[in-house]
């Protein structure tokens, strides 16, 4: 049996490296479009300040991007290093979007980012703008393909199990591509990136305004960030709701856990605004409810029911019992592919194939699934529901932050419509500055909800997490986690140090001589002295 410690360590490593990677991704996804907006204004108006804005915010973008690339390399290979059986079991489907991501998106983004930074003198204005746009398209396309891959983990459509190869195989590429979960996740995630970049520009511009430094530069940046952020925040909330709806359709366990819905309520169900979930007794100790809202969000109707946790578990029990037969038949087929009973075994397997994944859940508790005891079956049934409390609260904090950011963008946008806004309502700028961490916190919590909420599966309903790991020693994974945490910490310190240094310095760091705290003269002298 696979060691539970190995599974937990592998999960910790993946979670740590993925969450760390996603500190850098959302800023990239949004910043590229803010750069496109700034540079478009430059090309259209010819005003130098907009080129300076593109270059300065581009510099901060570059510092962030370097770590995004660094941590992204890990993600491309970690499925193979630490999740070998997963890679074998679903590589036929999951590998394709990853490879397409490289061919269609990463090449585009990475080739043009070089010209974005180094091509200013070699390209015409229009050519350079085109380069920036292609870079933006590339980075956003990479989000599309990775979320098609992730969407398939949440809602595995267009594929079928093949016992001859012991894996899932693609049956319909277009279904995988247009998976509704993937589409909703893509738009939700890139919008979250746009919000992140908008808050970033808004917060730092506010700081410059409060310091009274490079105010014109900061005002122009603030305006763009407020407008872009407002549109993005609206989109992230609307599409987050759409994402919630598709989750309800595809993953009833996740929805029930997020909402702490223990029982199936008569439709339309009420929404637990806040509550104190009690997992042992499977009830909420107390709750503040809004009637009807849950039913409307989750089903887009007033008549459809949303299943509660207790009812879902009973359904899953039946699937586990059926899955046991699938596993037994499969093992018999694999052991003796030439056996005389092959037709019977295949018939049994085909009849229970849809529940194969549920049968595999028992592998966590026993090697011989066909002999599982009632206690082991009960353990498997209980494991089908992720822990409610962390999901319930993570989701609510994420949504709360989203609305707080929406309010900030709305007020900021309204404020920028008035002339001389930079010298009035200074509290707004202070608020904007202190909101700087909010989008990152919301984004990380969002991934936590998406991935922790999918447990106990890596591929929902198909492949349990504990079967997905590589057969490594526990010591190896301890060692690699230590390495990742160590290297990432050191690199993060360097990144934050540079980010703070250049953010404080502001556009003066461009060395153009047009801004406060200009560095040009001093450093020119030291460079030539070498």
């Amino acid at each position: 049996m696979i060691s539970e410690q190995l599974v937990n360590l592998s999960r910790m490593q993946f979670a740590a490296t993925a969450l760390y990677h996603f500190l850098f991704v959302p800023l990239t996804l949004g910043m590229v479009w803010i750069l496109v907006i700034m540079e478009s204004i430059y090309v259209m108006t010819g005003k130098q300040i907009y080129q300076d804005m593109t270059r300065f915010w581009g510099k901060l973008f570059g510092i962030n991007f370097a770590l995004g690339v660094t941590t992204g390399i890990t993600m491309e290979f970690q499925f193979g290093t630490n999740w070998a059986y997963y890679s074998h079991y679903v590589g036929d489907i999951f590998g394709a979007p990853l490879a397409i991501e490289g061919l269609m998106a990463f090449f585009l983004e990475s080739t043009f980012i070089g010209l974005f930074f180094f091509g200013w003198q070699r390209l015409s204005r229009q050519q350079h703008l085109l380069v920036t746009i292609l870079m933006a398209i590339g980075s956003n396309l990479s989000a599309l393909w990775i979320l098609i891959a992730n969407g398939w983990m949440q809602n595995p459509v267009g594929a079928e199990f093949n016992y001859a190869t012991m894996r899932m195989e693609m049956t319909d590429f277009w279904t995988i591509l247009f998976n509704p979960v993937a589409q909703a996740k893509f738009v939700h995630t890139v919008s979250a990136g746009y919000v992140t970049a908008s808050i970033f520009v808004l917060a730092l511009s506010s700081w410059y305004i409060l310091k009274g430094r490079n105010v014109q530069f900061a005002k122009n940046s603030f305006r763009i960030a407020a407008a872009f952020g407002l549109a993005s925040a609206l989109s992230v909330i609307v599409l987050g709701d759409e994402s919630g709806y598709t989750v309800g359709e595809a993953q009833e366990t996740k929805l029930a856990a997020i909402e702490a819905m223990w029982h199936t309520e008569p439709a339309p169900a009420s929404f637990n605004l806040i509550a104190m979930p009690n997992e042992r007794e499977m009830k909420n100790d107390w709750s503040v409810q809004i009637p009807w809202v849950m039913g409307l969000i989750g089903t887009r109707s007033v008549s459809k029911q949303i299943p509660g946790i207790i009812e879902i578990k009973e359904k899953n029990r039946a699937r586990i019992l059926s899955g046991m037969q699938a596993v037994s038949a499969l093992e018999a087929i694999r052991a003796q592919p030439m056996s005389a009973q092959l037709p019977e075994l295949k018939a049994t397997f085909d009849a229970h194939k849809a529940d194969l994944g549920f049968g595999l859940l028992l592998k966590k508790y026993t090697d011989d699934v066909s002999q599982a005891t009632p206690a082991q079956i009960q353990q498997a049934v209980d494991s089908t529901i992720p822990h409610v409390t962390p999901l319930f609260w993570s989701f609510r904090i994420m949504v709360g932050l989203a609305f707080l950011m929406l309010a900030l963008f709305a007020l900021s946008f309204w404020h920028t419509l008035k002339p001389g806004f930079e010298s009035r309502r200074l509290w707004l700028f202070r608020w904007a500055f202190w909101m700087l961490p909010a989008p990152w916190l919301a984004a990380e919590l969002g991934w936590f909800v998406a991935e922790y909420g999918r447990q106990p599966w890596t591929i929902y309903g198909v492949l349990p997490t504990h079967m997905s790991v590589s057969t490594l020693s526990v010591q190896s994974v301890y060692g690699s986690i230590t390495g990742f945490v160590g290297f990432y910490t050191v690199l993060l310190i360097a990144e934050v140090y540079l980010m703070v240094k250049f953010a404080r310095q502001g556009p003066g760091s461009l060395g153009t001589g047009r801004y406060a705290l200009d560095v040009h003269h001093a450093s020119h002298a030291t460079t030539t002295s070498h």
Partner: protein, 382 residues
């Protein structure tokens, strides 16, 4: 629609395509890594080092995508290989990943602070990030040629039976040196093409040395494969269109077995010959100052050497030394017919587009990188 190309043909096409992606990786990311490896040795002053780094500054990121895409393509086309090799070579992979961490960050952060210690530390980290991965890839190829200790159970769960230290055996280390020498030579030729003066002169000396080294090491490795190594061959009937299940065949080891393909198919001797001709030609042309042609030659040489390993082993991709029937081959380690077909279409559309815009990016940034350029653009260059 997928019947347009039958499964066995697609399997061979994908063997070729993965090979092409790996060669593309060696040519494109390889020349960056060569530059990074030579950086501390050919750049004596800060400005010289910045010159070297800025020859690859606009391109290293795009070039690194060859590595990422090769990984993705192996995942999509050969999921068995992706799963078995990367988990089996666990510590080797970790070292590669960690070494690679230093490149993006090193390039971007190095010149953002004036302090000499800061810059020197990043220079050496860029060296590590550029020197270690090609070395380890060579070691990995060496291990593939020798056979890797792994086996599958009935459910096709793979287990690696060896240790990390077992990977570092003499033959594999020799292959690591071949890889390191050829990549560094290739980077040196590129650096000569994009620089002038002292740094170009110092690089030329390295290129001369590496040219001799790579030819000698490649020859020793070739003799070792021919006379000192067992090869593998499939001893059961092969169903070229069968489902991918490595356990349905039997495999035997034979001394000098990797020479069998050369006696079956004489013309493939062209690949090792291309390796020699490319590397010698690159060294000679670089001495003549014909650096662009030298780059074309070193790229061809890389292609020849990598292809030599590939064609010698065909149809094997990853032979198993501890349980030979678990060996992964072109016929039983691939994705399904549909996935291979779709991925082929995708590759046929996008690879030419990628080549076109990559060519454009190099054309835009062409010409020598000079110390004067670095001084004038101190705040916008690396």
């Amino acid at each position: 629609m997928i019947d347009l190309i039958d499964y066995p043909t697609l399997r061979v096409i994908w063997w070729l395509l993965v090979g092409i992606l790996l060669i593309g990786f060696a040519i494109m990311d390889g020349h960056d890594m060569g530059v990074g490896t030579l950086l501390p040795f050919v750049g004596k002053s800060d400005v010289e080092r910045r010159v070297a780094i800025n020859t690859i500054a606009p391109h290293w990121d795009g070039n690194q995508v060859w590595f990422i895409t090769a990984g993705g393509a192996i995942f999509a086309a050969w999921p068995f290989v992706y799963a078995t090799a990367f988990s089996g070579f666990y510590w080797a992979m970790m070292i590669v990943l960690w070494a690679l961490f230093f490149r993006p960050v090193g390039f971007d952060y190095r010149s953002k602070i004036e302090h000499p210690l800061w810059r020197s530390v990043w220079d050496w980290l860029i060296f590590v990030g550029s020197f270690v991965p090609p070395l380890i890839f060579g070691v990995a190829f060496g291990n593939l040629l020798e056979g890797v200790p792994f086996h599958f159970d009935q459910n096709l769960v793979s287990t690696y039976d060896g240790s990390f230290w077992g990977l570092l055996n003499p033959f594999a280390l020799l292959c690591g040196l071949v890889s390191s020498a050829m990549i560094t030579l290739h980077g040196g030729v590129y650096l000569m093409h994009r620089t002038e003066g002292d740094i170009q002169r110092r690089t030329r000396q390295w290129v001369n040395l590496l040219g001799v080294l790579v030819v000698v090491l490649f020859s020793v490795a070739g003799l070792w494969v021919a006379y000192g190594l067992d090869g593998y061959s499939i001893s059961s009937a092969i169903n070229h269109a069968g489902f991918s299940d490595p356990l349905t065949k039997t495999v035997v080891r034979t001394p000098s077995g990797w020479l069998q393909n050369y006696s079956k198919c004489h013309w493939i001797i062209a690949f090792p010959l291309l390796g020699y001709a490319g590397m010698l030609g690159a060294t000679w042309l670089a001495r003549q100052g014909k650096t662009f042609l030298a780059f074309v030659c070193s790229a061809s040489g890389l292609a020849g050497i990598i292809a030599t390993a590939g064609v010698s082993m065909f149809p094997f991709i990853m032979p198993s030394s501890s349980d030979p029937r678990s060996s992964l081959t072109v016929w039983d380690a691939t994705s399904s017919h549909l996935t291979l077909f779709i991925m082929l279409i995708v590759a046929l559309i996008f690879v030419p587009i990628i080549l076109l815009y990559t060519r454009w990016a190099y054309a835009v940034m062409r010409g020598k990188v000079t110390a004067a350029y670095i001084r004038e653009n101190s705040h916008s260059t690396y």
